[in-house]
Amino acid sequence: MLGLAADRLRADMNRLLSFLFHQGILDEQFLQLQQLQDETSPNFVSEVVNIYFHESEKLLRNLRTLLMDREFSDYNKMGIHLNQFMGSSSSIGAKRIRNVCLAFRAASDQNNRAGCLSALEVLEHEYCFLKNKLHELFQIQQQRVLAAGVRYPMQH
């Protein structure tokens, strides 16, 4: 019974990861992070991702505040937040988010406020989606750890 649960969890995890890679939501940098996870830092990926969520939400808030200001004109300042968001997204392998940031930056370079607002909405949506999927992934991984804990020691 326990063996089946562990197998099903592993299948779920692989299916989710496949989906995320196939859809271009994540790229090989995420795999690199997984490879860095080891016995000395068994929660490395989720720790990095949680820092990313924390940083991202701040940056997204800043971007929205800037753009919602009727007298907004500081594209420079917006560019700084955008570059930070783009950098950290690329560092965790959040490929799709990074690509939306590129489009956002293009609009910003042209001082195209409407284009920026539009890009920001897409960004917020993509960020929400990624956050949900990664939470799902971490939940499955946690359940796997628990399932493995109840195994008989001799089995794989």
Binding site: Q32, L33, Q35, V48, I51, Q84, S91
Partner: protein, 207 residues
């Protein structure tokens, strides 16, 4: 002999100072460096980096901060002092100009890369930084350590000869060819400490 070398090697890891305003990137680079057997200190700005080194402009040079830094890896785009400005300050300081500096940047801009290399950066890494990038930097750093070590030994040896022979011939310049091929590096160069590699080089020199 090898055993003694191994014991010493574990006590002398490379100490890397990593500078990045992004918390995510600091966490990742720290892990990459620890996996590559380095001691790591991360700071969030150029100003903090200078403070750590003891090169705080406001307080004047306070000297070394205990733990010697063997390598500095810094992000390029940071608020306040950029990585480029930090690089310049380090290369223009007599105390720290010998420390190799590696620049990391998410932008692959040729003029940016050129100006960093011109100011004396060892390497320019494009983000996201991977384990293979870090291992390569470590290799280059250790090789450089070997070259510097050999240079220093030649200088000391020559000085000793000059003092003892009281020769009238002027001492010729020490061959300093950073691009000269080194003796084949040990296959474990990526993970061995500089001290360990220096010991190997020394053994080869005497053969």
């Amino acid at each position: 002999m090898e055993v003694a070398g191994e014991v010493l090697a574990s006590e002398s890891q490379l100490h890397v100072l990593a500078v990045d305003d992004s918390h995510v990137d600091r966490k990742v680079i720290e892990k990459l460096l620890k996996i590559s057997s380095c001691k790591v200190t991360t700071v969030e700005s150029g100003a903090r980096a200078l403070q750590f080194l003891g090169l705080d402009e406001e307080k004047g040079s306070l000297g070394f901060n205990g733990l010697k830094v063997n390598l500095i890896m810094t992000d390029y785009s940071m608020p306040g002092m950029t990585g480029y400005e930090l690089l310049k300050k380090i290369k223009r300081s007599s105390a720290f100009r010998e420390i190799p500096v590696v620049i990391m940047s998410s932008e692959n801009i040729l003029t940016r890369i050129d100006s960093c290399l011109e100011e004396g950066a060892e390497e320019f890494l494009v983000k996201p930084v991977k384990l293979s990038d870090v291992k390569r930097v470590m290799n280059d750093c250790i090789m450089r350590g070997e070259t510097e070590g050999n240079k220093r030994r030649r200088v000391d040896k020559r000085k000793f000869e000059d003092d003892n022979h009281a020769s009238s011939s002027s001492s010729s310049s020490i061959p300093s060819s950073p691009s000269s091929p080194l003796p084949s590096s040990p296959s474990t160069a990526a993970t061995s400490s500089p001290l360990h590699s220096l010991k190997r080089a020394k053994l080869r020199d005497h053969n």
